[in-house]
């Protein structure tokens, strides 16, 4: 009779050697943790870009706290950017030829417009990487002022579409802090209605919340209850922030979650119109265009295709643009998103591209009968 074969046999491989090697693996991992901690907190390496790389996976809250705790931040620091109720919108000039809403791409368009036609007066309202819900909310805040503007550029970026269901950029992107919060809108009968507002609406309120755990926890509860992409594991600080290996794990999980979510919202054939975020963007855009016209302000839509997103943004809203007969500037028409030469290393468009967008914008303004101050000298 054949002897039964043991299914998991010990072999001549040395168990001692296995344990020895495993012990060394653990030892080296511990040494790595200690070395990173020491080198990047106690030496000049703490101020290098490599330090940023090693801390990308820290929770979003820990990055916000680190930023907010820095003394003497310049006024153009990201800490102060994009807030809806810090008084900045109200302090803008009341009269301008063009009000530009949106994100950094829109701001760059404004700069290019100034270079091409310095006499064109502008008001610029936006936040870094701001999605459409921020833009719409910023417009609502702006409406409360007694300002006058002949034209309004509505900036809309392809990367911002997926963020339309969030209340902070950190709900999807944990690498770099963008502190400002914005409202959450939800669809009701095809219209976007305000569903929740942030409890923190300025850099001062953020600092105050960090000084009072209860206030901050209440803010997290607002996000938990309304922000579709908020996950406490990625957002709120915890003990894992102290370990470089845990930070790597968190960053890996975060980017994979983001990729999966992005792929779900934007499939191989463009944005999926049965997903909430694209639907919200469409509704918010349509509402903003209608409201601008109701105020007798001429809207110009600025469609920004971020690198590698093709013409999906235009395809998402082209029917709205046609139905509303709204002039638009599509970056894809001048600088293709699949051409790396269109972009700077920081992923913004080159100055040459910005100039092309500005020329097209000016052509629309001129064709529409520009106000006296904005006409060509």
């Amino acid at each position: 009779m054949r002897a039964p074969v043991p299914r998991f046999a010990s072999s001549n491989f040395s168990r001692r050697r296995l344990l020895g090697a495993a012990g060394f693996v653990v030892l080296f991992l511990v040494c790595f943790e200690a070395a990173v901690w020491f080198a990047f907190t106690k030496t000049p390496l703490a101020h290098t870009s490599l330090r940023n790389f090693l801390w990308y996976g820290a929770s979003y809250e820990s990055k916000l706290r680190a930023l907010a705790s820095q003394p003497d931040l310049p006024p153009d620091s990201v800490l102060y950017a994009g807030w809806l109720r810090d008084g900045k919108i109200a302090s803008l000039p009341l009269q301008a030829d063009v009000t530009i809403y949106g994100m950094s791409f829109s701001r760059n368009l404004g700069r290019a417009l100034s270079l091409l036609r310095p006499e064109l007066t502008q008001r610029v309202i936006g936040g870094p990487g701001a999605p459409m819900n921020h833009t719409y909310a910023a417009y609502q805040e702006d409406k409360k002022t007694q300002r006058r503007s002949t034209f309004a550029v509505v900036g809309l970026s392809s990367i911002g579409v997926e963020e339309a269901t969030t209340m902070n950029r950190g709900s999807l992107y944990i690498d770099i802090p963008f502190p400002y919060f914005f409202p959450r809108y939800k669809l009701e009968g095809g219209r976007a209605v305000l569903a929740a507002e942030s409890r923190i609406n300025s850099a001062d309120e953020l600092r105050a919340a960090f000084a009072d755990r209860a206030v901050w926890e209440r803010q997290l509860q607002v996000l938990e209850g309304n922000d579709a992409e908020y996950r406490r594991f990625f957002f709120a600080s915890d003990v894992l922030d102290a370990s470089v290996l845990a930070r790597f794990v968190r960053r890996g999980m975060s980017t994979r979650r983001l990729d999966a979510y992005s792929d779900d919202v934007r499939g191989p054939h463009g944005f999926r119109r049965d997903r909430e975020a694209p639907q919200l963007v469409r509704a918010l855009l349509r509402q903003m265009l209608d409201e601008l016209r109701a105020e007798n302000i001429r809207p110009i839509v600025f469609l920004v295709s971020t690198q590698g997103t093709g013409n999906a943004l235009y395809e998402l809203v082209d029917d709205i643009l046609r139905e509303e007969a709204v002039p638009y500037v599509n970056t894809e028409d001048s600088c293709r998103s699949d051409d790396a030469r269109s972009y700077l290393p920081d992923l913004h468009f080159t100055l040459g591209c910005d100039a092309k967008f500005a020329e097209r914008t000016l052509a629309i303004i001129d064709a529409a009968g520009a106000p006296a101050s904005a006409t060509k000298p």
Binding site: V5, P6, R7, S10, S11, F24, G57, R251, D259
Partner: protein, 474 residues
């Protein structure tokens, strides 16, 4: 279900736990079910094709053995090979051939209209079809007998670690491992775990990390500078090597955990000094398949014909064209195959001077390796290009014509840049020792450092955008 996904981790954990507690026969049943779940994860409709192929080839193999007349055996073999290639032809090449025909007809002034059919390409069909064909041929040649149980054969075809992207297993090597009870020991588990770690490192950290930089040239519109094309091609060499060999390492590692030994698919291919050597180091399972079932029979045929030097080289060309076509229905792959076929012939025609051969190996071989590496890199440019037109543009840019100036390729992620030297070092030592097991002779501390470094870099690179394995499309 990708090897570098959370779903696969859960799938493997459940499968392995069951595997360890089941007796041999039930292990095979469970592995077959798991393999079909794994395959059906992409699209359950694919299961019908693999089940059909499996039943067909098993029945045919029984008929071959039962047949007494050579003619009858040959007819059964013809049926198996014909149907397998027919399936491959329909799913993989139908549109390509018809489109090419229509184009040709239109060039000739005949106006032919054609709407391409929407045929989904089943994942891994080229791999398991070739594996199945080799089984039928081996049974016909009397090199192996059909297994007594259909279950064993079905598992041989569908074994999940290697089903979708190889290595293509030979029945003579792998079927006995399925049929006989397997033994899992600590040695294999450690080796398997290391292969999985190293495979994930290659795939997630290096291949996925380089995808963006490579795509910035090959997937982008507009002209590129020669420097862009040069760097992107080199990076693609690394990307595809890490992608494909990473998959193979994980497949071999997972199989080893269960006591199976899959054949090797790569052996430091970029240390090849000639085309003949390259094809013993790169995608070994396919090149040896083509060598055994296409090249040798053809070479024998032409030898018997004995019509001169030209006939001597026909098997080279036909084999390599077949290899190219195996990869996909595109002229770029056919060009790639033709290029390699011509290289084989060129190397054969060019005899190295005897004095050079004898000269210091240290001095001459590195030069030959470096030279042949450039040949390989160009072949991979052909392989990666999206069209013949793009090949022309890229080659022109390489020689400084028609392209632009400057350098636009984005810097790969930090983890990838840190990982590449480790990969090159590991490959060099594998080449130097003629074995990728060299590290096992190292002291515990050194092995500990190696594993810890791979682990740290894997965690670091886990944030690279995950991409499907390149060879899944074949």
């Amino acid at each position: 279900m990708l090897f570098n996904s959370f779903e696969f981790l859960v799938f493997l954990a459940i499968t392995y736990a069951l595997y360890l507690v089941l007796p041999h026969r039930k292990q095979n049943w469970m592995l077959l079910v798991a393999s079909y779940v794994f395959y059906g994860w992409w699209d359950w409709r694919f299961l019908g094709i693999i089940a059909f192929t499996t039943i067909l080839d098993y029945v045919v193999s029984l008929r071959i053995v039962a047949s007494t007349a050579e003619r009858e055996k040959r007819a059964w073999l013809g049926l198996s090979v014909g149907i397998n290639l027919g399936l491959l032809g329909v799913f993989k090449y139908f549109n390509f051939f018809v489109e090419s025909f229509v184009e040709l007809a239109n060039h000739a002034g005949l106006h032919v209209d054609w709407v391409p059919l929407h045929i989904i390409l089943p994942v891994g069909i080229s791999f398991y079809t070739f594996q199945s064909i080799s089984y039928s041929i081996d049974v016909y040649r009397g090199q192996i007998a059909p297994p007594r149980r259909f279950l064993d054969y079905a598992l041989f075809v569908a074994f999940f670690p290697q089903m979708v992207a190889g290595p293509i297993q030979r029945a003579t090597y792998f079927l006995p491992q399925v049929v006989e009870p397997r033994q899992v020991d600590l040695d294999q588990v450690c080796r398997g775990a290391f292969l999985i770690l190293y495979g994930l490192f290659k795939k997630a950290v290096i291949a996925d990390g380089l995808a963006g930089a490579v795509g910035s040239v090959f997937n982008a519109a507009g002209a590129h500078s020669g420097l862009d094309v040069f760097v992107a091609t080199y990076l693609f060499v690394l990307q595809i090597y890490c992608d494909f060999s990473g998959y193979t390492d994980i497949a071999r590692g997972v199989a080893k955990l269960m006591g199976f030994n899959l054949s090797k698919n790569f052996m430091t291919p970029f240390y090849s000094a000639s085309p003949a050597e390259y094809w013993t180091r790169w995608h070994i399972s396919l090149s040896s398949w083509v060598k055994d079932y296409v090249y040798f029979p053809l070479a024998l045929h032409y030898l018997r014909k004995g019509d001169g030097k030209l006939d001597e080289y026909k098997p080279h060309l036909i084999s390599m064209l077949l290899m190219g076509l195996w990869h996909g229905a595109a002229w770029t792959y056919i060009l790639w195959g033709l290029y390699h076929g011509l290289m084989l012939i060129a190397w054969d025609l060019f005899k190295w001077p005897r004095s050079l051969k004898r000269a210091s190996r240290l001095l001459v071989k590195p030069l030959r390796i470096a030279f042949y590496f450039q040949i390989t890199a160009i072949s991979l440019l052909l392989f990666r290009a999206n069209s013949v037109h793009q090949i022309g543009d890229l080659l022109l840019a390489l020689v400084g014509r028609g392209g632009t100036r400057g350098f636009t390729i984005p810097t790969p992620p930090t983890a990838t840049l840190l990982a590449i030297p480790l990969l090159l070092g590991f490959d060099y030592l594998s080449y130097h020792h003629s074995s990728d097991l060299f590290y096992r002779k190292w002291p515990d501390a050194a092995r500990g450092v190696l594993v810890a470094a791979l682990f740290i870099l894997l965690l670091m690179g886990w944030s690279n955008a995950p991409a499907e394995f390149i060879y899944f499309q074949f």
